[in-house]
Subunit: 411 residues, 2 copies
């Protein structure tokens, strides 16, 4: 047998689990199925013309050869300069050396796992939490301590318990959490950063959807609360920032489009320097052309106008979905009302199995994602997640009505 060596792969391979929802997503991708299972942005809203214009400008200018050549690992200076300004505008102090461009937030998570996580390290996470984070960190041997959440986010006493118990890092999605849609309140963010600072542990603040808010006022990032606490003024700090507990993860995947794979990490220089080394070893740098396309496309307020377009359409879809749920779902079912993002989280009566319900729904050509893969302990059998960003209004009406029929028959 000539691939005998394939049985001698690194024990890291045992952490390489296929995404628990990948098979489900495959099934739901049949053309006739109305799927609320994915987490994709709406492709019909991609700014194709703007991206084509940006690409043409680059490839017709004297920047063309630079766009196709190797590039420094840290990322395109123009894009990083723009991000520094934007991050400071959100109260996050940073200089150019605090920003690393990555090939999507999944890579941000991979690099952070590589640098921060040793085998059997415990990470305190929301319960449920983002599947992709567990996929990234499982490889490095992470274990997870799932924290209780209420409508304001993670419960402080449960975070304190986890940190007392030795958790080495904290992972939080404070805005329009995936999968629950919950937003961590301002007061809660202040309390949580106070606790993490006291225990001296890093917080990974993942914010892929933060700009997709459909109601209410924006809440400052945990990175901003952390800076405030440490007395760092984002407006006056114009050099690199070398302290702080928060690694802020931003992404253009939902604000612009995911296919370019351009995201970023903001953090204090000691950790950014290590992440730059890790990225150099991992892929040298993110596509130069992709970075330059993004750097041009976002300029002159385009990104903000585009975000307004997105939030207009997504808000309508959220409202439609919530409306049909309100009308048709049985009263024993409850769900979140997200102020932004892509997801609604549904809770069925205790003892109900959402996976069996999915089978019934697939017979009716409609799909969602069962919630249990999002639980580090694989609990949450009676929950599921609905995505509203990538569905047309007519699909939302038909799809939710069909799910409601299944719920009414089987609960």
């Amino acid at each position: 047998m000539t691939t005998s060596w394939s049985n001698r792969m690194s024990d890291r391979v045992f952490g390489l689990k296929p995404s628990a929802i990948r098979e489900i997503l495959k099934v739901t991708q049949q053309p006739e199925v109305i799927s609320f299972a994915g987490g994709l942005p709406a492709p019909e809203l991609f700014p194709v013309e703007r991206i084509q214009q940006a690409t043409d400008e680059i490839l017709q200018s004297d920047e063309a050869t630079r766009a196709l050549q190797y590039h420094p690992t840290e990322g395109h200076v123009g894009l990083r300069t723009w991000l520094v300004k934007r991050m400071r505008g959100r109260g996050i102090p940073c200089g150019l050396d605090n920003v690393l461009i990555t090939s999507g937030s999944q890579q941000s998570l991979d690099l952070i796992g590589k640098v921060l996580i040793s085998r059997d390290d415990v990470v305190a996470v929301e319960r449920p939490t983002f599947l992709g984070m567990m996929q990234a960190w499982d490889v490095y041997g992470a274990r997870y301590d799932g924290l209780r959440m209420d409508d304001d986010g993670v419960e402080p006493d449960d975070l304190e318990r986890a940190l007392k118990g030795g958790a080495k890092a904290v992972y939080i999605i404070p805005n329009f959490h995936n999968p629950t849609g919950i937003t961590t309140s301002a007061a809660r963010r202040r309390t949580l950063t106070e606790i993490t600072d006291r225990y001296g542990v890093p917080v990974v603040e993942d914010d892929p959807y933060g700009q997709l808010r459909y109601e209410g006022d924006a809440v400052a990032a945990m990175a901003a609360f952390d800076a405030e606490r440490l007395g760092i003024d984002p407006r006056s700090a114009d050099g690199p920032v070398d302290r702080g507990n928060v690694l802020f993860l931003g992404s253009f995947s939902k604000e612009l489009c995911p296919g370019l794979r351009v995201s970023w990490i903001v953090g204090p220089t000691p950790i950014i320097n290590a992440l730059v080394q890790a990225k150099q070893a991992a892929d040298l740098h993110t596509s130069t052309l992709a970075q330059m396309i993004v750097a041009r496309a976002v300029q002159d307020g385009f990104i903000d106008a585009h975000i307004q377009t997105l939030t207009g359409v997504y808000k309508q879809r959220r409202d439609l979905m919530l409306g049909y749920m309100q009308t048709h779902f049985p009263s024993s079912v409850s769900w979140t009302r997200p102020a932004g993002g892509l997801f609604i989280w549904v809770r069925l009566p205790e003892g109900t199995n959402a996976t069996s319900l999915l089978d019934r729904c697939l017979e009716k050509k409609v799909a969602f994602v069962p919630g249990h893969p999002f639980f580090p302990d694989r609990a949450g059998e009676n929950t599921f997640r609905l995505n509203f960003s990538n569905a047309q209004p007519a699909q939302i009406e038909v799809g939710i009505t069909r799910i409601a029929e299944v719920l009414r028959r089987h609960l």
Copy 2:
């Protein structure tokens, strides 16, 4: 101190060394310095128009939204289908499931390290070897057993010694090796694959420059010799191939341009499946747009015509450099005559320190890379590497003459 946690990073961080030649490359990038230090392709030869045309076609077609959306991890089917045909044409049996698209060969190395290498595993490598491979695998705790090389490549008895000693994998650049320029002969490839098959260890065959041949006939890939030995006919195998010892690493960085970050791995399905999982955890997928640009740009024989252009120009630069070296270098200095690729390897008399010579050369505004960082044991103080692909003829004349002056004065 609020970044106390930055002192508690994973012990993986100790493997994160800055590239040993990065500082050197920085110094040599002063505009007035003639630099033979890098390993960049010539930007003036990038197929800018073709890439712009491909991009326009994609973004103006109904493929546009697909190009900007999330994509399956394995990579673009059109590009993989093209690669299957091309790889088979080179005698490497494979089906679609044997090809994984990666974000540059540095990522191919990172993913392979993640899947194959456990802490303190020994990898048998050419001595000297490619720095980027050590950067990628240091993170996973690899150690290196440097193998003796002659003009035909790695010496078989030294490979046998390393495998007997427990080396777990082999890394080889058989075509126009970086840094030495040496090409492993056909007979040697056959012998080496026979040995690795006997010991049941995987061979990572890194082939970034294989198509850049300036003289002589192409030598079949080690993957092809391995398949022949195992009785797998590349023409008849149209399903996935599930056995074999070789992971073949190809790249568009030198054949087309590096800035798009598109490369590939071919290997037997058990390891490709693990690598797909690792890539999903690492960055979900390579830029969809970049993959689709490459898939279009290579079509209809363009890539082969373009490779002919490249080899025409690079051959001339190689010949010029070798000619000036022959004329001006002292007789105590010897060097390789590469049949392709980007590099000439220079050996100074024993006891000479190439790093000190670089300082003298920098005073004269000319630069090369000292050889010792390419040695796993940091030996080779009396060696250096010259790159000829990214230098104009006039620069080659002036630069080599200056280096020759320094050599004549200081040897």
